[in-house]
Symmetry: D2
Subunit: 341 residues, 4 copies
């Protein structure tokens, strides 16, 4: 090959001028404006662009009056995102919550006793001795669970008084009603009639104390999950439009997309996840995959995944798309926002 031949390979040229926006980041010259900085994410590329798209999609969900499903894994509530989710529930900004059992346990504990900042790297056996549980870089002293047991032992007799077999949605609603804490997800959701779905209610300390209760006090109690599933499906069937805000993956994510299948798919979907696609996992599956199943409707821009650890981006998303945004026609939300500011 001559140099000219190789050049056709190296720089083939291109006549076409693309109509898409220029890649351009925030301009730090002049007065600083954090809102503009976040707006510039749209043309920053990589995941920044996806965060900007996520903000845009959530705004559109709200403009459209969609029934908004917010799903979150338990560790989200271990972290300071609990207060963010409590805000969404308090202001009635989401309609359905789906989660796993640890998040219920921990929301209740935090109404009385905080979790503490910790470290990733510790002497785990020594921690066990000290009765301190580690959850990432968060520490949970065991006395939290001693307290929780007492609290639940007060609650259970009442909860199972009339019916012995109850559902997870009933559990979180009635438990939430006992709580007085403006930063509690359960309390606010109960107040605003936002159901919290949690099919695997047993898989956390709540399950442990139900076990002791069943063993020690009442062998007839039980948790029935099919009724909730029916209700969740119906919720989707009744909705005109639905939008999903999926924080983390796992069961909550799948529960949301699976029940939206009945209505022919969700209209909007925003995922925030560290999951990877290559393992074929549900947690790592991108929104695209859900399209083939009919779990998400196909329109070019109604879904996005932000590949990020949730604590980094969720507060920014909520700030821009909820706190600072008044939806176009959405009376109810607009009021809520207004009332709050």
């Amino acid at each position: 090959m001559t140099d000219d031949d190789t050049k056709d390979n190296v720089i083939p040229g291109s006549e076409e001028e693309l109509a898409t926006p220029d890649v351009r980041g925030y301009d730090f010259t002049g007065e600083f404006d954090l809102a503009e900085l976040l707006a510039s994410y749209e043309t920053t590329g990589f995941q920044a662009t996806h965060l900007a798209e996520a903000i845009d999609i959530v705004k559109r969900m709200r403009d459209d009056g969609a029934t908004i499903y917010c799903t979150y894994t338990s560790n989200i509530v271990s972290s300071g995102l609990r207060e963010t989710l409590a805000y969404l529930a308090r202001e009635n900004l989401v309609d359905v919550m789906i989660t796993t059992s640890g998040s219920i346990t921990e929301d209740v504990i935090k109404t009385e006793k905080p979790f503490k900042m910790g470290e990733w790297d510790v002497d785990e056996a020594a921690m066990r001795e000290r009765g301190i549980n580690r959850l990432g870089n968060i520490f949970v002293p065991s006395d939290r669970y001693v307290w929780l047991e007492e609290y639940l032992n007060d609650f259970f007799p009442e909860f199972f008084a009339e019916e012995k077999v109850r559902t997870p949605v009933e559990f979180s609603r009635e438990l939430g009603a006992t709580i007085d804490d403006e930063h509690s997800i359960l309390a606010n959701a109960a107040d605003n009639d936002i159901p919290i779905f949690c099919p695997a209610l047993t898989d956390a300390e709540v399950g442990n104390f139900l076990y002791y209760y069943k063993q020690g006090y009442d062998s007839d109690v039980g948790i029935e999950i099919l009724q909730d599933y029916d209700d969740l499906i119906e919720e989707g069937l009744l909705a005109d439009k639905t939008g999903l805000i999926v924080i983390g993956g796992g069961l909550p994510k799948h529960h949301a997309i699976m029940t939206n299948l009945f209505r022919g798919g969700a209209d909007y979907a925003v995922y925030i996840s560290t999951g990877v696609e290559g393992d074929g996992s549900l947690s790592g599956a991108p929104p695209d995959e859900a399209v083939s199943w009919g779990k998400i409707k196909e329109e070019v821009t109604n879904h996005v995944e932000v590949k990020a650890e949730a604590t980094l981006v969720t507060p920014l998303l909520v700030a821009e798309a909820f706190k600072k945004y008044e939806p176009a026609g959405g009376e109810d939300e607009a009021e809520a926002t207004a009332a709050d500011d």
Copy 2:
């Protein structure tokens, strides 16, 4: 600083000679031996070392006669690892299985209709048109679910005949008993009385068809999950030693470690996972974290995590630690192995 000063920084020297093995990979000289290749992983470093440790720990579980819990996420059964798990159940090599609902659905479908090899990158909307669902690089034509509905509609009346409210363990046991397929996990588990725990039974097509059944035929049916949780805890309390083989993360992983907490922790644990620690997720939490909670007992070498996509390493682990290994004192397993070869 003079050169001599900087040299103290750059090459401080060390008197100590370390007693640990040399890092050394497989020697490709001479006759090839794949078993030796896997043995060389021990001194290859990084994740190869962890795979070698995982093989070693599983062998020790078996030598020790531990009650072995095998947990797996649904996509594991979507993949060809289904046949590997069916082998473990068939030969009675594990004692307890914990999973999520998709794995039950798919094991049943595969008794009649195979999943097909596919691609990651497709036109998702066109796939929806064609009725082909994508699951990573695996394709599942929708007629599989048409067939499944019929199969389950035959099964449900019988299953709910005597009691209207049943548990997930009963579900998989009685469903497994209807299946005749040597590669079915459910069939083999039913045969060998290996319980399959699956608290969130609704969260997959099984749930969808339960919904239709409840709507159309019998509004009283239900799924109760507390009894199973009790049984799983008791299983751990009765065991002399316990060992966990955790394939993927999520609820199945947590269910195993949480219930082992009651007995003061599992004695052995092997995790195979793509989860990352930095998101504070349960799925990404390393075995070390479970030590602080008392979910895994602390001894220097009784736990390991192989950071890998499961299809790459699970068959190798099962080959070395089960198929090719006869446990020291373990009569039962030894027989099983012998009978099989």
Copy 3:
């Protein structure tokens, strides 16, 4: 075991009250304040906490008058982070830059022709036909490289006029001097005498055009890299304190920590990375690992890694720790900041 025995396992209790801060996220009640939101990241847990720590460490670098090394991979400059880095260079807020060759190529192109927003998922062969290169979700039409070749062909004769063998630092400095663009990293670095180290200068289009130049015009030209390495080591030896801001991994990261070894380690280090530890890679190695090598000094809080995709967090870090922060005693930086606002 009795229930009481198991309870000692399940809830061992703990007498100790931890002195660390409570985990608590941003409080969305009341007037919204994005700066407070970022401050709340400190007690939000997981990676949010690390971002807050990173901001704090960079502030301390600046208070301490440390020589600041900023390293970045090439794709950082493909993205809109180019404008962020250009700001750091323009305001003289960092002292040394270390990068890979693609970033030099792309900074020059962007002075004349923007990169364009694109998509991850495209028909790659069709893109090749159209002469459009894909870089994540960024598109680079090939005519950019046609333009670059002309620009470099004007520059090379001058650059090699007096000496035939030049270094990468000379290359970026003299090339930067030809550029007039307030958003160019090269132009601003040249202006402010910030050296840009890039040992593998050949590994990008710059290398390709050097190849053609050497083939076609002057077979004696060469790129010598040892002199730069000496200079980089000396830079570290002369510094009183050093601080590293490491965006992405790879060669730039290692180059910074390796040369800091000569002075006994860096005093401050902030990593932003998607790398994973389990592969034993340098890109994935956490700051802790560098301590064992003496590349980072050990003090409890002088280093942190934010596990995140850089576009999501770098602008926030720069906003809080540079743009909005005036270092305690640091005259020079204070002026720069002041002048800019």
Copy 4:
């Protein structure tokens, strides 16, 4: 919606029967055969399928007599994969090697003093005291570098005797010629005239000792990198077909694909990587992305990425595609294989 309407959504059905293979894993019934187990990976799904494809593509490279480029990051040689790469060099099974500087340093050290197995989690400051460097779960006592300095100080005067400015390829070739160790990559590559490209030669201990040598003995010495780049491009231009085996990412990966651009792209490519796509990094870029640049030729099955930590899969790939495989027409390789068995 009626149940019938929702059913069209839930189970749309599909008439089409797919022609692709069934998903089916290894059958553990009967006599065990590890080669068959690896063959079954093809239909196991997820990454197992990609490993099977990688084996197939490497076999085809060899059948086709392609010039094979093998690229690897430094940590690959820290691990026991060093012996695997040395085998490929010894048997002349690859034609070009591209790497980063640490791999050269470490290959030389290992000819005399082994690296030792270690742990991820250590007291890093104590390690520094003891003079033990950590590299993932591998320990490298500092005396290795004391020894290396002496070795290189013997070598440098000779190396720079006739010319003061040398290239990285010359460096590894002449250094390799001084080594007598059948497991040394450098020694075998030197023997078989396999060039080892390493543009950023300074970025490791080799660089450090070059620095001391330049400071202390001969200020005129230098490392010139443009000549090597020319040679690497020419290598590609002369080849009839080229195939890439890319272990890890970074500079070595890009160097291989970039220089293949001159010839219009590589014909075959296998990547083994932990990189993630979402960060827009070169390390995480899938083979598809290289197609848009013309760095890899587009044919449906000539490229694959195995998302895996390299120590887990590289020995299996080398075993199946090299050690146990005799290429169709490839005389030379066939002999090599034969001679070795």
